[in-house]
Symmetry: C2
Amino acid sequence: MNRQLDLALDGIRKRLLEMGTAVEQSVEDATQALLVRSVDGFERVRETETKINRLQVEIDQECVELIAQYTPVARDLRLVIAAIKMTMDLERMGDQAMNITHCVKDYLKETPIDLSLRLSAMALTCRRMIADSLDSFLRRDESLARKVLLRDDEVDSERDAIVKELLEIMRKDSSKVSSGLALILIARNLERLGDHATNIAEDVIYASSGEDVRHVGAKPSETE
Amino acid sequence: MNRQLDLALDGIRKRLLEMGTAVEQSVEDATQALLVRSVDGFERVRETETKINRLQVEIDQECVELIAQYTPVARDLRLVIAAIKMTMDLERMGDQAMNITHCVKDYLKETPIDLSLRLSAMALTCRRMIADSLDSFLRRDESLARKVLLRDDEVDSERDAIVKELLEIMRKDSSKVSSGLALILIARNLERLGDHATNIAEDVIYASSGEDVRHVGAKPSETE
């Protein structure tokens, strides 16, 4: 029985990593588009989002069946509950990759603003947070998960700096209002991606230790 | 045993409604601030967000304990799983109410734009969606939940129309770039609130029928 439960839990882990890998690919495609100023990756982002949505429905169903069949307790139950929360975050991340591609599309139609390198640097930080949060889940590495939490503020302040700079540019040159807004929304989506990576890291800590670190000394969120 | 499980499930329902009522209050305070051009409600929104965050942690814990203690199956298990998903949506809605208050604060510092009535109308639609999604949960009214799903597109197109109008205003008058951005972000936060109400309605349908209606004919999301 326990052996079967362990196999079932490993199955859930593998499926979550499949979903996480799809999200990483999607975020990479979406953010690369801005750097290379090309729309080539867009169709793939859309296809990947459909795959991510399907995986969420399937994995949630597998988790419910696992609970009904094996009635896991303690750490095993926490893993399954964390898995259901993770699929919600990963699904939103797929949406955000789509949002970014929409914004990049809008941006490429408008007057360029020389800030794409700074945004790409922010994108890289977010992608590292996503990779580390998934790694911490794969290796059950609680300390790596806690490192992810620390990087959230960094991304927040980078977003604020970018928005401030863009508002200045938009005020000075009305021809850059649309492209400025597109970049502001990209920065906000990147920051949200960092938030979701943080949520996943919190789920990893919860699953392994039972400690719920959400909202511990929480500051009010300031992102959409 | 079953009687105890039923009591425990009712307890979870009551707690979710407590959380949902706090979210409704928070969204009302946040959106009223724009209409009355006053910052009086802000402190209450912040306090309510802290309460909402606490309720999420507590309710999730109660759900895990319920599963471990009573090993619910079928419809009962689906309700508990749906409850855990609902707390994630409700918690995000509390964040979005906070985001809206931040944007209203920014907006009130800048050159006013005569669009607050239109935004307030959009806010009213979103608040109705939230109220109906919580009602459908309370009354286990699957058909009301399905009605909520239908209103999502309405809110999406209203957001698009508002953003288009604001971009025009920002291009024409650079003194309105900051206030325009604040209103655009409010419109996007309202649309996200509608999305979360939709998620809750989907959870209600899942809990009562076992049918997972997420991503059925899903269009790519275009919000943060």
